[in-house]
Amino acid sequence: MDVQSAALIGAGIAVLTGLGAGFGIPLATGKTSEAIARQPEASGKITGSFLLGIALAEATAIYGLVVALLLIFK
């Protein structure tokens, strides 16, 4: 196996980090919906922390994507 194909397989493995965001963001979204249903008047604050949370949860997937891109177009 030459270096190029190994890098491509590595890129494929790197995007598996998407799993983390895929599990994390729906969890946060579901909990946010529950919280807003329970206390609609606090929806502004809940949405704020929700945005912060998904931004941080999403970071893992984005790092995987960037690593995959680096492996493909180095």
Binding site: G48, L51, L52, A55, E58, A59, I62, Y63, V66
Partner: protein
């Protein structure tokens, strides 16, 4: 054979779309400064922002007309948002954070201005998203972290700043220092990765199904994703500044 040739052109298309072309080079003071297409699009975005800001603020009245009402609602929204997150000192940063927010919104939505093409003829001009260039997101992230650093020194005082580095316990010192590298990196990579990812997916969709699907998918990948990322970037910058000046 023809299938392989087709796949070749598709991957070439994506590589070409991702690449950042140098349009021309400025030679001055013995340096060659390459000007890429993203820089030119940034200039266009800046021109749009300056002209719109100039037109909207030219004739301000006590009793606002329609455009001024919109402007006041927008400014009020940003003021309230920053003040809620960062306390009453946050007022000093509304102009800065509002500028970043507006710039990112216009820059992320600018690709939607590309005129329609197809049926064999190319569109007049193609605007590609600016933030797919990591240099631009890195510049924005560095601006934010430098602001965080200096505002933290100014608002806490040099002594208070040093004290905040060893809070809550002295063991946290290396981590507190590391934050100055991690925060801008995650800000920069988040924006860059999201916009580039959405852009690549749109290129793939357009290459596979050129009709009907791209406009619908574009609603999510161009409009919604661009807006969300602008909001997230401005929101995280606000949180970092709020943390620095509290």
């Amino acid at each position: 054979m023809s299938e392989a040739a087709h796949a070749m052109t598709m991957s070439e298309k994506i590589t070409e779309g991702m690449g950042i072309k140098t349009v021309f080079t400025i030679h001055s003071f013995g340096y060659a400064i390459p000007i890429s297409d993203t820089v030119i699009t940034t200039w266009i975005v800046m021109a749009i922002l300056i002209i719109v800001a100039f037109i909207l603020t030219r004739k301000l009245r006590e009793i606002p007309r329609k455009p001024q009402l919109l402007l006041e609602a927008f400014i009020g929204f940003i003021n309230d948002f920053v003040e809620e997150k960062a306390g009453h000192h946050g007022k000093d940063f509304t102009a800065f954070l509002g500028t970043i927010f507006v710039f990112l919104i216009v820059a992320n939505l600018a690709p939607m201005l590309t005129p329609a093409g197809g049926f064999g003829f190319e569109p007049l001009f193609v605007i590609k998203p600016v933030t797919r260039d990591i240099n631009i997101t890195a510049a924005l992230a560095i601006i934010v972290i430098v602001t965080v650093f200096f505002s933290s020194i100014v608002y806490k005082g040099p002594k208070g700043y040093l004290k905040s580095l060893v809070s809550p316990i002295p063991v946290m010192l290396p981590f507190n220092i590391m934050e100055y590298a991690i925060k801008p990196m995650s800000l920069c990579l988040r924006l860059f990765g999201n916009i580039l990812g959405a852009y690549i997916i749109m290129l793939l969709i357009e290459a596979v199904v050129p009709v009907a699907i791209p406009p619908i998918a574009g609603l999510y990948f161009d409009l919604f994703d661009g807006l969300i990322q602008a909001v997230v970037f401005a929101f995280l910058s606000t949180m970092y500044i709020a943390e620095a000046i509290e």
